[in-house]
Amino acid sequence: MRYLPLTEADRRAMLAKIGVPSIDSLYRDVPERVRLKQPVDLPPHQGEIEVERAILGMARKNLGTGRAPSFLGAGAYRHHVPASVDHLIQRGEFLTSYTPYQPEVSQGTLQALFEFQTQVALITGMEVANASMYDGATACAEAVMMAGRVTRRTRAVLSGGLHPHYRAVTATHARFLGFELDLAEPDPDGAEDLAARIDANTSCVVVQNPGFFGHVRDWTKLGEAARAAGALLIVVVTEPVSLGLVASPGEMGADIVAAEGQGIGNALSFGGPYVGLFATREKYVRQMPGRLAGETVDAYGRRGWVLTLSTREQHIRREKATSNICTNSGLCALAFTIHLALLGEAGFTRLAELNHAKAVQLAERIAAIGKAEIVSDSFFNEFALRLPKPAAEVVEALAERGILGGVPVSRFYPDKPELATLLLVTATETNSDDDMARLAAALREIL
């Protein structure tokens, strides 16, 4: 058993020191009748060769985006992650360390978190950001709960352009915390009027940019309307790369930004682990959920970093904490930070431009087929298509051709027949011209 350093001789010597005859006798506080006498009925230990064979066997039953032209988005985006990112996050000092509670021997993680917080604040255009949440959807729910604390109101308005999972997660919390949600209908055309929904008990309006159906909006006016009514504007971003090209939530007057950071630095990994970004105004920082790294000095006066403002957190404040979150997405945040450090201003904006240009090219190619309508009046790297057939069928037909062609909206809204023909299609820097040509050719056949 390769992970266990104790030898039989060690065990004997240690038991002797303890003064008990066996390991079993250390379990004497466990009621006799619930002590298992045998190992559980599961396979016995195996070596690397066998474990690898079994798990790669499962992997081979999947069609990964590494082997197929892939145009999927809907909140998870395939971007090229530079090899050095994955190398660095696997360094044992990052990978196998705990939350940096002992700052003297955690300056590496702490400084990286401080850089992460700064990067998130910069790209979202906000004043402060925390050290990460689980993912974009949970960050969104936390944002709505925070707006409730800040405004002491209990009703939140959620855009129809908000990702359905974000809506669902927020709704789950609303159910148990007892706040009210005004859920606008799914809004493929981006025509909803959210300002009209704000009332005196509204804590916040939550919009997504670019929206779930692709369109890009300037939410400044809505923010003004919200503020005039004493409510907060929460802007959700599911594709962080868009922030290299699209005006930032901060520029639009957002009070809180809840975003999915996966698109920078992190693999698709079938949906997790991802990294929630959370940013807000300085004045709200004590209502913020999650960890924060802050600057300070050491006993010699040298600059250093610590976790700070932890009186907001569960380990200090317990039932009065701003959130119950403990473990967050540290290593994903690190991957984000390294990737964005590599990109820098020039790389990040170019990456965003490239994504947009690829998507425009793809939209043009598909439009040229003449069978599908581009629903999104504007978009970043993802747009909604209206197809002459149910989108789910088209996606299956594409998969048979080895193409991962997009995400059918019906996957999220199976109960809305009017959305059944909508397909979300994404292009990123990873899509070659050849990929796009293959998709277009296949669509020509299928539609």
């Binding site: 021997v105 993680t109 689980y134 698709l268």
Partner: protein, 509 residues
Amino acid sequence: MERDPVTGTFTGNRGLQIEEKLIFEQGEAGRTGVDLPAPPKVKDRLGGARRKGAIGLPGLSEPQVVRHFTRLSQKNYAIDLGLYPLGSCTMKHNPRLNEKLARAEGLGDLHPMQPESTIQGALELIDTLAHWLKALTGMPAVAMSPAAGAHGELCGVMAIRAALEDRGEKRVRILVPESAHGTNPATAAACGYAVDPIPANDRGRVDLAAFKAKLGSDVAGIMITNPNTCGLFEDEILEIADAIHAAGGYFYADGANFNAIVGRVRPGDLGVDCMHINLHKTFSTPHGGGGPGSGPVVLSEALAPFAPLPYVVHGKDGLRLIEHDHDSAATGKAFGRLKGFHGQMGMFIRALAYMMSHGSDGLRQAAGDAVLNANYLMASLKDELTPAFEGPCMHEALFDDRFLKDTGITTLDFAKAMIDEGFHPMTMYFPLVVHGALLMEPTETESKDGLDQFIDTVKALARRAKAGEAAAFRDAPKLTPRRRLDETGAARKPVLRWRPSAPQGRAAE
């Protein structure tokens, strides 16, 4: 250039220990560490919402970025470097095989929204892991999507509340032992419950009488960590379970300490209704400096129908992912959704690889060795330190600070002195039921040699403390990249991000 008064060098570096500025202090406009082709010229379709100003990100080349983060990494302690006896955190060895497999083609590169026909292997993997978790806990169902322990707690308590509501009951209180981890009360509150604390008895367990006195028809359930945060098995657990059930409430188990009993005791046999499992503790997915984790929640028959979406079922044409409660294969009672997509797949892969590597026999042995290591620490240190409670412990050994009485040295000072010795300190001041707590969890992946060195060192430090060398402790650590940091100052005037003009302390360079 002046010599740094601390290090005596001009650079402030100390040989291989190299100072490192923020990336923001190293950036240059126009420089980048990523080469991308020029975007094809297209007509912009952004609808006028184009970003106007610059973002302010620093430009670094790849060599600079690699060096920056390599240097930073060396300012961290890690399991890969040494003993990391953080009680309640289960800092065990993280096998690299698992990292490799999580990145395999067909796993790491799967999009969560691919059609079912292209992800059968992924669903099989989730289903296999679910099977292991159910078998090891003796529970009939498991919700896989929670992202960490605390998220699993939400899942469990929400399931409890959904079940109660399904029964038409509105109960308002959750009982939580005072020794509980902070996430327990925070979770109960986040689910709309009032937290009612239960005291510990003088044996470090739930005070059964006090607990029973709190029971009533408004009690939704109890959240118990077992083994508890004092490192002790709740020996009256069966009575507790019976009592809470008799009162119509549910038994939430915090499974953070499952490592002590895996393969030896099945929570299902203890009357548990739901329990989260921190895959990043018991099943060795790396802590990553704070996350990510994964917190699947096993559920009893009573709670299973309320499990959140999505989940995997066996359909007639293969495995299916149920994402909607109105799906014909759904229970129709799901309490909702907790997370985007389907859970922490990357962690599932690692945890399954770990479980398969250990196997049923190995997991049982691992638990036994974890308990053995902790008891060996306890037995070896009990004369020099002051154990908080009598008798054998489970996977962690808890001491209080009586041994430091009158030395002028605090638990914190003692911990900082351990850092200079090359050890990560134990968990301090937790659980709250013990004064100046020192909670040591060595885990099963420490060798006897390593423990012996740790034991000798802790004993030597304790003797030094008792010998009155308080100043040395209050000064510690002295040999680390930074000495004690001013946490009060940090909180008083928070500097949470870099700004071009931000105050820089005495700049490190």
